[in-house]
């Protein structure tokens, strides 16, 4: 069937050594329960989830421990049952080596699930389904960790033409999708069926690179079964030529459908949406089994004695996971992801998170340090291999000189950081590092500019308010003076005192009236919230008052200075 599918080509791409055999020899193993789980709250693109548990609380497997912050966010769940030991800052699996809020759980060994219930998505509204998936913590497992519920939206036409499942897995060493498709093809296809219904898509294309024949065979069987059940031929497994980065969403869409999504537009506007096969599996688990996303398949490969894929609970430390594969003694670094796009980890204590598709153990011998960067000779090789049709040498030129505006004019933000340009560069320039640098600088400036705009607005409002208050005060004063004069004049008329001039009397009367008012106020004023207090509260108040008096005493010299 797949042979009939007409395929297209994307621009550029490279063919690095794939190194995928080592980790596919053995089936998926379940990683043993670690002594403690460190689960970062922020594991997806979007808002940081709020912690829902506190230290000392007991949690069950699959219990929500981080609630989504707004719609562009995704929930976080306990990976196993146990006790929350702490909610504190821990080292994140991020190149920066910075910490973020994590929930630390000590497993109780019982691995006890919360009540699980399948979600009836057919009777639910699309909005309810999306909320369910958000609260189930389902995010894109291809590496970008974009919340999936936001992508399950059919776009402006209300229905999709094609749903693309991404099983290309083009990056060297990584085989987690490959083994998942081999062993759990049926669940993936079931997930695809669910997604197809939610998106009301015409057909489903599952794109798999032709270097994974076992996965293609397994998926073909599962797809045929599902087609048979549904009585149509909507699901199709397509073998695509092996070329990095065929697994990029835009690249795979291009290969399978011939549609090139233009700059700044969404694929759904062209009737296509793309999901990773791992995400399809997670959606199946969430909707059909009621299990939130608490684990994933992780490839451990590189400088290890036995590379293999493991099903790992989120929060398991990379050190524990690596130990299962016996890293060779000369290992000196850990990369999360593959050799092309992976991120260097700050240490082995960091936890496995939703974005961890692979743990690549490196050594000097396996990944020798990059040779010195030479000047760009403008050969244009990078432009030839760029899968996003950009001009990498121009973007590099301006990023390096920190002329960010120009870099953006060359569409820096369409760069997917695939690393093809750096891979072919004869001058061995780390081009992607320059793009990352330029992108984060531009983002920081954007944030600064927004803050400045807010500050300007607030400042201008304050000026406006001060002006208004001044006017109001003036008006009030004028009204008061006028009223006071009248009253005084009336009193004067009654008393008939010819001795003083009416002006002076009016003033005297005003002052007297003001003093009277002040006296009355002084008597009236007493704090309202101290009316009925318990003795403890009163004691506390007294203590605070004493401290304040002390501070006032301390502050006196300062005050006098100001006077």
């Amino acid at each position: 069937m797949s042979a009939l599918q007409r395929l297209f080509k994307f621009h550029g791409g490279v063919k690095p050594a794939y190194n995928k055999e080592a980790s596919t020899r053995l089936p998926i193993a379940v990683a043993p329960m670690p002594a403690s789980l460190v689960i970062p709250l922020h594991q997806s693109i979007g808002g940081m989830p709020r912690p829902l548990v506190a230290a000392g609380e007991k949690v069950l497997k699959g219990q929500r421990i981080g609630g989504a912050d707004g719609n562009v966010s995704s929930a976080i769940h306990a990976s196993t049952s146990g006790t929350v030991v702490a909610v504190e800052m821990r080292l994140m699996p991020h190149t920066s080596g910075l910490s973020a809020l994590c929930v630390v759980i000590e497993p109780d060994g019982r691995d006890e699930w919360i009540a699980r219930q399948a979600f009836e998505f057919r009777s639910a509204s699309p909005g309810q389904t999306r909320d369910f998936l958000r609260d189930a913590g389902v995010v894109g497992l291809g590496g970008a960790v974009f919340p999936s519920h936001l992508k399950l939206n059919a776009g402006k036409h209300g229905k999709l033409d094609t749903l693309v499942l991404n099983g290309a897995e083009c990056e060297p060493f990584i085989t987690c999708d490959d083994v998942l498709m081999r062993e759990r093809a049926e669940a993936i296809v079931n997930g695809a069926v669910i997604m197809r219904e939610i998106l009301s898509a015409e057909r489903v294309l599952i794109g798999i690179e032709d270097n994974k024949p076992e996965a293609i065979a397994a998926m073909d069987v599962a797809a045929a079964e599902a087609n048979c059940k549904a009585g149509d031929a909507a699901i199709e497994v397509v073998s695509v030529p092996t070329r990095y980065p065929a697994g990029g969403a835009k690249q795979l869409i291009r290969v399978l459908t011939g549609i090139e999504v233009p700059h700044g537009e969404r694929s759904t506007d062209y009737g296509v949406q793309c999901f990773n096969v791992g995400t399809a599996y997670a959606i199946y688990e969430a909707i059909a089994l009621g299990q939130p996303l608490i684990s994933r398949i992780v490839t451990v490969a590189g400088n290890v004695a036995q590379a293999r894929n493991y099903e790992v609970l989120f929060g398991t430390s990379m050190k524990d996971l690596m130990a299962l594969c016996a890293p060779l003694p000369d290992s000196d670094r850990i990369v999360m992801g593959g050799p092309m796009m992976g991120l260097l980890m700050p240490g082995d204590s960091v936890p496995v998170v939703k974005a961890t598709n692979c743990i690549l153990v490196g050594s000097q011998a396996l990944f020798p340090p990059p040779p010195p960067e030479m000047p760009c000779i403008r050969c244009g090789d990078c432009a030839k291999v760029c899968p996003a049709d950009l001009q990498p040498f121009e973007m590099y030129w301006f990023s390096r000189a920190k002329i960010f505006g120009k870099a953006q004019e060359y569409n820096l933000f369409d760069c997917i950081e695939c690393g093809c340009c750096a891979y072919v560069c004869p001058s061995r320039i780390p081009l992607v590092d320059y793009y990352r640098f330029a992108k984060s600088e531009i983002w920081a400036r954007e944030v600064e500019k927004e803050a400045a705009d807010v500050a300007r607005e607030r400042y201008e409002f304050r000026l406006l308010r001060e002006e208004r208050e001044k006017q109001e005060k003036a008006a009030k004063l004028a009204a008061k003076t006028a009223a006071g004069r009248e009253k005084a004049a009336a009193a004067l008329a009654e008393a008939v005192k010819p001795a003083a001039t009416p002006e002076e009397d009016a003033k005297k009367a005003l002052i007297a009236a003001a003093m009277e008012r002040a006296k009355a106020q002084k008597q009236e004023v007493h704090p309202e919230n101290t009316a009925d207090l318990t003795p403890e509260q009163q004691a506390e108040v007294a203590a605070i008052e004493a401290r304040r008096a002390e501070i006032r005493e301390m502050a006196k010299p300062h005050l006098r200075q100001d006077d």
């Binding site: 000047p375 030129w397 301006f398 390096r400 000189a401 002329i403 120009k406």
Partner: protein
């Protein structure tokens, strides 16, 4: 007809006002940092220079020569040019505040741009008639604009280039201008077809 074409082409390429006649260097160095400024400055200069050539021809032919006041030529040309520049400035400020801002100080400086005075004077010494004067002025201005735009393009890239510290800024710009001037000498070969 061809003689008119040669006047324009000659003024643009062969006798480029910046690179061959070495006139108008102040705005050439000053306004060539950004491409968009260069385009704006080129357009403004083109307008002023063409107007100035026409106006100065009229003044010279019908005011100065009949009254044997040729010795007032420079003075009266300068006054005329100054007035035209002022006018241009007012119009640009009204119609395109952004361009006005970008050109900034260089707009009034067109007044003292030696190219703008030099071309009308050349017109007199070359005994051009009215149409020839206009075309010569227009051609020279296009040549100026071309030089400005080419140079701005190069300078935008130079900004990102690895230039030795002591050559950065104006120094490397001068060297580049010299090289471009050399390159424009090649157009002298067009002379053959005259």
């Amino acid at each position: 007809m061809t003689s008119y074409l040669f006047i324009v082409l000659g003024a643009v390429l062969v006798n480029n006002v910046v690179f061959v006649r070495i006139l108008g260097l102040c705005p050439f160095m000053g306004v060539s940092k950004k491409l968009e400024t260069a385009v704006g400055m080129g357009a403004a200069t083109t307008f002023v220079l063409t107007m100035a050539c026409g106006a100065s021809y009229v003044i010279d032919r019908w005011l100065l020569i009949p009254n044997q006041l040729e010795y007032l030529r420079t003075l009266s040309f300068i006054v005329t040019i100054a007035a035209i520049v002022q006018l241009t400035e007012l119009v640009i400020q009204k119609t395109s505040p952004l361009l006005h801002q970008v050109l900034g100080i260089y707009l009034p400086l067109i007044t003292t741009n030696c190219a703008v005075l030099g071309i009308p004077l050349l017109n007199v010494s070359l005994r051009h008639n009215f149409l020839e004067s206009l075309l010569f002025g227009f051609g020279s201005a296009v040549g100026f604009t071309l030089a400005l735009i080419l140079f701005a393009g190069i300078r935008e890239r130079l900004e990102a280039a690895d230039v030795p510290v002591h050559f950065r800024g104006t120094a490397i710009a001068m060297i580049t201008a010299g090289l471009m001037s050399l390159a424009f000498m090649g157009f002298a070969g067009l002379d053959k077809f005259k």
